[in-house]
């Protein structure tokens, strides 16, 4: 049973990668690198971990997800489509004139988007506020906030980190997409984050260090987040920027950019081959 779920998640993430590629071709722009590094995490959240209802996006007891790294919207949109929040026609309007699917997501335009994001360093505070409100009302839902590793160079993240542990927000789960790459290069060359795990621990968080592309590890970790630990949880998901498209992997040049010509062809072939392999 567990194994079936894992292979189901793998298949979903392959479909999501294909959609990301299609959207990048249609739009001619977007942010592929961080969407591809975090798509497995979002797949697990939306198809295994979070209590949500696509037919009732505002269901009061739903778990909340904030994409603090709003530039990875392309991944979120793909997942929301696969989970039944939006149709394919809408999905392919990504970044077209007058589309609801902006490069950075707008909560008032897309069902399932909890918070408008895009400027880095905002999401964890907002998630902390939501988690605080849930505690006040004795509600059981949880709040998940996905951040980029480069994003955590913002000081406001650490203000929020202090706030969350001070208020014992064990219903708040931060996830860092640790792909090691930001626009201008390797995070350790631009503005070093290491010792990273120790930083979060020093700020009072329980830290789980996992492979962010291994669904067994993701599931094991996320299914076992303690609910009454008095500490917020940080999932340090070690990932590969551009994961799944050979020429994008580990390549800062593909933080942002659309797909056309030969690149589009190679990318489509690779995601199709990956799905093909799945069918066999």
């Amino acid at each position: 049973m567990k194994k079936d779920k894992i292979s189901e998640l793998k298949t979903i993430s392959r479909h999501a990668r294909k959609l990301i590629v299609e959207m990048l071709i249609c739009a001619g722009c977007g942010h592929p690198g961080g969407a591809l590094s975090s798509i497995d995490i979002m797949t697990a959240l939306y198809f295994d971990i979070m209590r949500i209802d696509p037919h009732d996006p505002k269901w009061d007891e739903r778990d909340r997800f904030i994409l603090s790294k709003g530039h990875s919207s392309i991944g979120l949109y793909a997942i929301l489509h696969l989970r039944g929040f939006m149709d394919r026609t809408t999905l392919l309007t990504f970044r077209q004139d007058n589309s609801n699917l902006c490069g950075h997501p707008d909560m008032h335009k897309v069902a399932g988007v909890e918070m408008s994001t895009g400027s880095l360093g905002h999401g964890l505070s907002v998630g902390a506020g939501m988690a605080f409100a849930a505690k006040c009302d004795k509600k059981k839902h949880r709040v998940f906030v996905l951040m980029g590793d480069g994003e955590t160079q913002e000081g406001s993240i650490w203000e929020a980190a202090m706030f969350a542990s001070h208020h014992k927000l064990d219903n708040l789960i931060g996830i860092v997409d640790r792909n090691m790459i930001q626009i201008d290069g390797n995070t350790e060359d631009v503005l070093a984050l290491e010792p990273y795990k120790a930083k979060w621990e020093a700020f009072g968080w329980d830290v789980a260090d996992i492979d962010g592309h291994d669904f067994v590890q993701i599931q094991e970790c996320m299914r076992n987040i303690p609910r009454c630990s008095d500490k917020p949880t940080l999932i340090l998901a070690n990932t590969v920027k551009g994961k799944g498209i050979s020429f994008m992997e580990h390549n800062p040049a593909w933080h942002g950019g659309g797909l056309k010509g030969e690149h589009a062809e190679i990318a489509l072939n690779e995601v199709n081959a990956s799905l093909e392999k799945d069918r066999k």
Partner: protein
């Protein structure tokens, strides 16, 4: 007439509103005595969060609370909300139209000798430029109460700016503040004095002296609602009088004076003179000293009116 502390009056009234509305939360950035949010903490401790010296996070937390149906009133000094945390205000509150209220104190040059770091002479301009934001600058205790109630009744972000000092009572019992409406405090068609914040008091005194001693009928409009602004009242002023004088404890760039000019330029022949801080950082001095240096006095209002 009596003088009252705007901060204390505001806090007292928020405590009363908090008793009626269980969704109201108060957030503070380590200034609870100065902002007087301590009153809310004492009355409603379960709905009070001192966020410490971390204004950006405080505004983000407020956004999160609002997303879950709470109505957070965020307290700090005007300079810190309008500048330190402005991107959170703009992007995480105003853009998603979240129901967050900002109650800021120490606006203008009211921090006096504390110095330029703590003055806020840009905040109205900054807040006014943000879509979805409502900007209120009430001028006495009664207007503060009414502004708080109006802010609560409005679903969306509101910035309420107070000074540090005391304010003379100006409003009579019948006066009725409303968002988007000017309040006429004195009639007159020779000149229109438009004030905001506590300067409605100086405006009224100046108008009375002008009428009595100089036979000039100066209408006084209190513009406590800077955004949305009472467009009709300004258009009427620009058509009915030859001159308009604006008075504000703020840079003359982008605040009340700027807002009035933008609208008055569309019609009529009225010229506008702006009294305020003349686009420079103020030196060291008490609020009274600095206001005198900047010409924010009854005498200068009268002289400016007469100079037309």
């Amino acid at each position: 007439m009596a003088k009252k502390s705007m901060r204390h009056e505001c806090a007292k009234h928020l405590v009363a509103l908090g008793a009626k509305h269980q969704h109201i939360f108060a957030l503070e950035g380590d200034l609870k005595e100065s902002t007087q949010s301590i009153q809310f903490q004492t009355a409603h401790p379960g709905r009070y969060i001192d966020c410490g010296i971390a204004e950006q996070n405080m505004v983000g937390v407020a956004a999160g609370l609002a997303l879950d149906g709470k109505i957070p009133f965020v307290h700090s000094f005007a300079c810190f909300i309008s500048m330190r945390a402005i991107e959170q205000v703009r992007t995480s509150v105003a853009y998603p139209r979240l129901n967050v209220k900002f109650v800021v104190t120490h606006g203008g040059i009211s921090p006096g000798t504390a110095g330029t770091t703590h003055h806020a002479i840009e905040d109205i301009a900054i807040m006014r430029a943000i879509p979805n934001m409502t900007v209120l600058v009430p001028g006495d205790a009664k207007e503060v109460q009414q502004a708080l109630e109006a802010a609560l009744a409005r679903n969306g972000p509101v910035y309420i700016r107070l000074g540090a000092g005391d304010a003379e009572d100006v409003y009579d019992e019948k006066a009725n503040f409303a968002i988007g409406k000017a309040t006429q405090l004195r009639p007159g068609n020779d000149v229109i004095i438009i004030t905001t914040g506590t300067f409605m008091y100086e405006g009224v005194i100046a108008s009375d002296i002008l009428r009595k001693e100089h036979k000039i009928n100066a209408r006084v409009l209190q513009m406590a609602s800077i955004k949305p602004i009472d467009r009709e009242a300004i258009l009427r002023a620009a058509e009915e009088a030859k001159c308009i004088v604006t008075v504000e404890e703020h840079n003359i760039v982008g605040g009340l004076g700027g807002a009035v000019c933008e609208i008055a330029a569309e019609v009529g022949n009225a010229r506008v003179r702006r009294i305020g801080i003349n686009d420079h950082f103020c030196g060291v001095g008490s609020q009274v000293c600095l206001l005198r240096q900047e010409g924010l006095t009854v005498e200068n209002i009268i002289d400016t009116v007469k100079s037309f």
